[in-house]
């Protein structure tokens, strides 16, 4: 089996032209006790690129992006995001960096004791010290418009459907105008039509906010619709790296089942 270092050499970086790299991981490892989750991960994320990370449940996809924002400490390896070495930042510097990264959680993670409006206002009040009613209102309405849910602002999260929660979660990160978006399974548990709407949202967010994104998924149609490039994660290694159409032809026994739907 090739190691990820070998894959980097023949990585499809060329396809991305000479776009600058906004985030890069080198030989990242992470174990929980005796269980090795990430064994050796290396990848690059380019400016304005939609990078899909494809992998089965439990392969450590969520752990990977949590390492990128410092929610989980990687054991070894280099993690560089927007020019910062994530593993050596002080808590204050880390907070600074995190403001430029949007993280959409697998379970949406809306603050369930607050209304949608308060959910969106929260990061503004806490980080930007914006307290003026008018200013908050404008920002909130704009972010809600971007995800197509203008008239939910007074609802509680428990009154929303799964797809709406995902959108509100995305709106809550967009409100800070991130440079990088990390989507953890944006379409998991949604019907195909709603999933397609979310995929379109991901594409329109890139248009409007000029973000670079990592999209984690095991949903092959999400990968098809959103990806510029796909990295397949198998057994804690990045196994294959190519575009959707190339990957579709794969004979690899670990990956082929994804496409035989």
């Amino acid at each position: 089996m090739d190691t990820s270092a070998d894959y980097l050499k023949k990585s499809s970086t060329a396809k991305m032209g000479n776009r600058p790299i906004v985030a890069s991981l080198r030989h990242v490892k992470k174990s929980f006790g005796a269980m090795e989750v990430l064994r050796d991960i290396s990848l690059d994320l380019h400016q304005n690129e939609n990078l899909v990370i494809l992998g089965r449940s439990g392969t450590g996809k969520s752990v990977l992006i949590k390492c990128m924002v410092g929610l989980i400490r990687a054991d070894t390896g280099e993690i560089n995001v927007l020019g910062c070495d994530v593993r050596s930042l002080t808590p204050d510097q880390l907070d600074e960096l995190r403001l430029q990264i949007g993280f959409s959680f697998q379970g949406s993670a809306l603050y369930d004791s607050m209304t949608v409006r308060q959910n969106l206002e929260f990061p503004l009040k806490r980080n930007k010290a914006i307290f003026k009613k008018k200013e908050l209102e404008d920002l909130v309405i704009n972010a809600l418009k971007d995800v197509g849910l203008e008239n939910t602002s007074d609802k509680m999260p428990s009154e929303l459907s799964g797809g709406m929660k995902k959108r509100i979660g995305i709106a809550r990160t967009l409100i800070l105008k991130p440079k990088i978006m990390l989507y953890d399974e944006p379409t998991a548990g949604l019907d195909p039509i709603t999933a397609t709407e979310i995929n379109e949202l991901i594409l329109s967010v890139r248009e409007k906010y000029n973000t670079s994104s990592i999209i984690i998924t095991h949903d092959i149609s999400c990968a098809r619709q959103t990806s510029d490039r796909i990295i397949a994660l198998v057994n804690g290694l990045n196994k294959e790296e190519s575009t959707f159409d190339e990957l579709k032809q794969t004979k690899d026994p670990d990956l082929a089942p994804f496409f035989s739907y």
Partner: protein
């Protein structure tokens, strides 16, 4: 529990403790949330404290009266009741009620936020969840418990007065004059200090249990349970330690 996990846990608890103190003085900007939490603390425990303190006043008076009158010392009743209530009964009842009510509330609230990744979401948006969630709650319980104890003392004494008044028509003024003349500043001061410790213990223990709960829904129940049980245990421990300490000054 093995020795090493125990050691690690102690280090972890100490770190949590340090973090609270560091941030409590660094971030007075949390006052909005502290105020909100203070209100929540009062709101959650007000009814229960009123009810139990009143009953405790009534029951204690009714039970002490026969034995006092068998010595012909019935007139000592107000002084006995006042000392019992202020030195011990009021703080203890308030402490236990709050440990149950606030402990389970804070423990479950923080644990479910943890399980549903809400705390992580605050963390990755740079919103400093520790000072928002933990420091504000610990500050609120620490500030509110003394207030609640004073209130509980008053209610218990009122319960006692009503009982006495019902039996032999003692006047309000006479009763409370006797009460006041037997309470020292040391009694009041030490009971307030004790209440402050109770409040800190409840806030600290419950927040720690919730904020560090295991993932999964069972973690929420476990955190609430730990919060209540350990808080109650510490109410008694603090009570005992303070009693020894205050006796040095008597």
């Amino acid at each position: 529990m093995k020795f090493k996990p125990l050691l690690l846990r102690s280090a972890d608890i100490y770190q949590f403790f340090q973090r609270i103190f560091k941030q409590a003085f660094h971030a007075p900007s949390e006052w909005r949330e502290v105020l909100k939490q203070c209100f929540a603390v009062g709101n959650r425990s007000f009814f229960l404290v009123t009810f139990t303190a009143f009953l405790a006043g009534v029951v204690f008076t009714r039970q002490s009266r026969p034995s006092l009158s068998s010595f012909g010392a019935e007139s000592w009743l107000p002084s006995l009741v006042s000392q019992a209530v202020i030195r011990s009964l009021g703080p203890l009842i308030t402490g236990l009620i709050c440990a149950g009510k606030l402990g389970s509330n804070i423990g479950a609230e923080l644990a479910s936020m943890k399980v549903t990744e809400q705390i992580d979401a605050m963390e990755v948006s740079g919103s400093r969840p520790f000072s928002f969630l933990v420091v504000s709650r610990v500050t609120a319980t620490t500030l509110m418990l003394p207030l609640l104890v004073v209130y509980a003392d008053c209610v218990a004494l009122l319960g006692s007065f009503i009982t006495v008044n019902f039996i032999n028509n003692t006047g309000f003024k006479l009763y409370f004059n006797t009460v006041a003349s037997h309470i020292t500043y040391l009694d009041i001061f030490s009971s307030l200090i004790k209440a402050t410790f109770f409040g800190f213990a409840i806030g600290f223990i419950s927040s720690y249990a919730g904020y560090n709960s295991d993932n999964g829904t069972t973690g929420v129940g476990k955190a609430a349970n730990t919060a209540v049980v350990i808080s109650m245990l510490f109410i008694f421990i603090i009570d005992l330690v303070m009693l020894q300490f205050i006796n040095l000054f008597r």
